[in-house]
Symmetry: C2
Subunit: 179 residues, 2 copies
DNA sequence: AGAATGTCCTAACGGTGTTAGGTTAGCGCC
DNA sequence: GGCGCTAACCTAACACCGTTAGGACATTCT
């Protein structure tokens, strides 16, 4: 999965992006340097530029893959549950905890939408919008809550003894019915 | 205001932090390099290390100032309004929009609490906890929503035509009464 | 006077993204 | 067989980054 977002890239570029993803997730954001990535691939940093325009393009490819995987996971979550909003919340948190560095990369700066694979951002957002009955207002509020919960958790901003499952449940419940 | 957080620093270190703050807010996060900061002060980057241990310490000082100002603004907001949660939400958003780069610095990574001025994080959190009637669960949910709204707005993740005032109002209303 | 302190300096180390320009291997084609 | 083209890699360099070692002052304290 998650190869369609890279379909515009050459095979070698795809390999590089896959390697970059492993490097990012396994060794953290500082490891995602052109030199470290080159070393992982057995080539020099400058050779990467034959395959990807620059680091921004590499990051955009990683973000595109992330959105595509989110879209798939979120659609699945809705399909498998009869409480779609709750299922989406769980899937959202799960994605971020499993791949915190990719999640951060996807959310910590304004998106270079011109560099993303087309449609992936919308595809990731669609399941929630549908689960909210097409109510964009409600979908946005739920998304903001979910992102806030996730990123504050990843950044260890809650006290260690905080019961985040409960906070999630209460928050989602409250926002769920809000008109 | 916002000098108490720096009271542990020498006068020269305080000047440096103040300059750093202007540099960060006026020229963006990339401008906050030791060399650029030195240039702004008319000294070499290496001279900064006479006054601050390293860049982390500089950032921790900036973050401490940010928390201290938040604490003051939030306390004021509660004092001046009879709908404290709504007032806090407005003050929270206002702080972030006025100083987006400082807000990002304060929230985008795990806190080095050992480097912060003591008590400032708690002081900033206190007004909301009190406005939530001491209900930590509720305070956390509201905080997560507020941070999510703010950071997604700063990162231009909502469509340009989104009515964020309404999203804020509905979200806060919903989370307000939630038990 | 002499010591200590505060403040700055130059020079360097290893790291970053990126570009210019050069090499080699393999392929299609006359 | 040899020509040209392309893909993939290379070295060397540029300007930046955080940081440290070691040295030069000028002011202040004893």
């Amino acid at each position: 999965m998650a190869f369609h977002a890279l379909s515009r890239l050459t095979p070698r570029a795809r390999e590089i992006v896959q390697t970059a993803r492993q490097l990012l997730e396994q060794e953290g954001p500082d490891a995602l340097s052109m030199r470290r990535l080159g070393a992982q691939l057995g080539i020099r940093a400058s050779s990467i530029y034959e395959h990807l325009r620059d680091k921004q393009a590499l990051e955009a490819a990683l973000i595109s893959v992330g959105f595509e995987e989110q879209a798939e996971l979120f659609a699945q979550a809705v399909r498998r549950s009869d409480t779609p909003i709750a299922a989406l919340a769980a899937a959202y948190r799960d994605f971020a905890r499993r791949q915190p560095n990719l999640y951060r990369l996807m959310t910590e700066r304004p998106l270079r939408r011109d560099l993303l694979a087309s449609g992936v951002e919308e595809a990731a957002a669609m399941p929630l919008l549908e689960a909210a009955g097409g109510d964009r207002e409600r979908a946005r509020a739920i998304w903001a809550f979910a992102h806030g919960m996730v990123i504050l958790e990843l950044n260890q901003r809650f006290p260690p003894d905080a019961d985040l499952d409960t906070t999630w449940r209460k928050g989602i419940d409250a926002l769920h019915g809000a008109g």
